[in-house]
């Protein structure tokens, strides 16, 4: 397969059975195109981290194949590893070393000469807002800084595929947003990104395509847009100008009163929301603002996982 036409990641019939007999992956197939921003979603224990572990060779697969830009991770591991950068879920750097040393050493493991390594280390530490911490022991960094350090380390050899396992776990909202912007920027520059996350809003905001994995199987593999179009209903929160004595009743719109000036309503995808506003206006209720109650993708995610469980229960 030529390098230019090969997908960034191609997984074929991948299985993993651990020594204790637990089957983490049951023959998954996955293709991620070059330049994609791809989300791998699933509940805890679904097989996300095992999949990533196999891709970056920290977990030994039982069977199946994995290629990175056409390079098999077994037959051509050296080339395959040059193309991939990994940001793991747990901190896995030497806490006694300085960020600059961690980055320069990592570059060395990829055969990058010291001068270029030092220049790149400075570039990525500056881009990720860590340059002023470059020469302090990394154990003194905050959790968010440590996570950014791992992103810088994964980028030091300038991989074409970046895999991030829960990159924003435990990171505050402001920092999460700045990391999103950074990831979008490097994706726009051509780096393919695969992301696992518990924050489904993150996947919805960043990613173009998604696979949902549950009990070691891919239960959905589509575009985010397509996935969201599968939603049958949405829940909205309405804030009213005046206090309400009781919950208003509108036919076909099951309203619930959350507090004296807040209503909640489930709206079917086929329904028009204008009719609801008209009915409320007729009752003298003035709505001043409206927002989604839950993340739409989250709702769908739980539906899919529940459906998968039900199918399993039915054999």
């Amino acid at each position: 397969m030529s390098q230019s036409t090969a997908p960034a990641l191609q997984i074929t019939q991948l299985t993993k059975e651990y020594d204790d007999g637990f089957v983490a992956l049951k023959g998954i197939d996955l293709n991620v195109a070059e330049g994609d921003f791809f989300a791998l979603l699933g509940p805890n224990g679904a097989g996300k981290s095992t999949t990533i572990g196999i891709i970056c060779s920290l977990v030994r697969k039982t069977s199946g194949s994995v290629t990175i830009f056409g390079h098999d991770i077994d037959a051509d591991f050296s080339s395959a590893k040059q193309f991939i950068g990994v940001v793991p879920q747990e901190f896995n750097f030497n806490q006694f070393e300085k960020p600059i040393d961690i980055l320069v050493n990592q570059a060395g493991y990829y055969g990058i000469p010291a001068k270029i390594a030092a220049e790149r280390a400075e570039k990525y530490l500056k881009q990720l807002g860590l340059w002023d911490k470059a020469h302090v022991p990394s154990r003194t960094l905050s959790g968010g800084m440590k996570r950014r350090l791992m992103i810088a380390r994964a980028l030091i050899h300038e991989p074409r595929l970046l895999v991030l396992d829960e990159p924003t776990a435990g990171v505050d909202i402001e920092l999460r947003r700045s990391m999103w912007e950074f990831l979008q920027e490097i994706n726009e520059q051509g780096t393919t990104i695969i992301l696992t996350t518990h924050y489904l809003e993150e996947a919805e905001s960043l990613c173009r395509n998604v696979a949902i994995i549950d009990h070691g199987q891919i239960v959905q593999n589509t575009s985010i847009r397509e996935l969201i179009s599968q939603l049958s209903k949405e829940t909205f929160i309405l804030d009213t100008r005046e206090s309400l004595d009781s919950c208003p009743e509108v036919e076909c719109y099951p309203l619930k009163q959350v507090d004296t000036s807040t209503l909640e309503v489930d709206v079917d995808k086929a329904q028009s929301i204008n009719a609801l506003f008209t009915a409320l206006t007729e009752q003298g209720i003035d709505v001043v603002s409206m927002r989604n109650k839950t993340n739409r993708l989250e709702e769908l995610f739980f539906d899919l996982v529940a459906k998968n469980l039900k199918e399993k229960a039915n054999g």
Partner: protein, 257 residues
């Protein structure tokens, strides 16, 4: 990876290892030097003066090569076992495992780091020993050859120990219950002629006896063991340990799930 990239990866690991033990020099360089000085003072001067000669040499001259070799062995071993296990414990070994660096480069890098510390401490101890005893080097090639091979062998052994270790206790069990008795019974403090036929023959299964005697031969020209046999034994053990260590890394034993 081409050869130049492999060389960069190797030197990176070695530089990182040397920086590690230099950064924590009060833990890595000072204690072995103090310990050996105490050995020189107590066994060499205070007690040694009353012992008189051993194998035709003043006792301090007899024990000095063994004490130098002891510091080389313990420091080569402990550097690799603690560094590699520390990397496993903190999981920063994954930095190397996800990289394209071949396993044999990882192995050689750690071993070279261990040898750097073992030989560095050995050199410090040798300089200090000149204050306590006079030496005229008998054979430079034998001295250098055996000390390099010994350091190599125990660095490899340290890595194997670290691969199997599941806790910090596991990295102290071998040095305490295996290495120390073997060193003390390896002819550092006495000639095996003193042991009689039976215990002298039993001592021959101790690999450290061959290293200490070859080193002593290189420094002062006396030995209980055939020198060629000493080199053969150390070479054989080193080759065996190299292939065991490489096999463990290739399989990813206790490193990859």
């Amino acid at each position: 990876m081409d050869n130049r990239q492999k060389w960069i990866a190797f030197t990176t690991i070695v530089r990182r290892e040397v920086n590690r033990f230099m950064r924590i020099w009060p833990q890595t360089l000072v204690p072995p030097v103090i310990t050996i000085v105490l050995y020189f003072v107590i066994f060499g001067q205070l007690i040694g003066g009353r012992i008189g000669e051993m194998a035709g040499l003043p006792y301090i001259q007899f024990v000095a090569p063994g004490l130098i070799m002891m510091s080389v062995i313990t420091n080569s071993y402990s550097n690799v076992v603690s560094s590699f296990y520390g990397s496993k414990f903190q999981r920063n070994i994954e930095e190397l495992l996800v990289s394209p660096t071949p396993n044999w480069i990882i192995l050689l890098g750690y071993v070279a780091g261990g040898m750097s510390r073992g030989l560095g401490v050995g050199a410090l101890v040798t300089l200090l020993s000149l204050y306590f005893a006079d030496f005229s080097l008998h054979s430079l090639p034998v001295t250098i050859g055996i000390v390099l091979m010994t350091s190599l062998m125990f660095s490899l052994a340290g890595l194997i120990n670290a691969v199997f270790a599941n806790s910090f206790d596991d990295i102290s069990i071998i040095p305490t219950f295996v290495l120390t008795p073997l060193i003390y019974l390896g002819g550092v403090f006495y000639s095996i002629d003193l042991l009689g036929d039976f215990w002298g023959s039993v001592s021959l299964i101790n690999p450290i006896l061959y290293m200490v005697n070859a080193f002593r031969y290189g420094m002062v020209g006396i030995t209980d063991i055939n020198i060629a046999w000493s080199f053969a034994m150390v070479g054989m053990f080193s080759a065996l340990l190299f292939f065991v260590a490489l096999n463990l890394l290739e399989k990813g034993s206790r490193l990859r799930s």
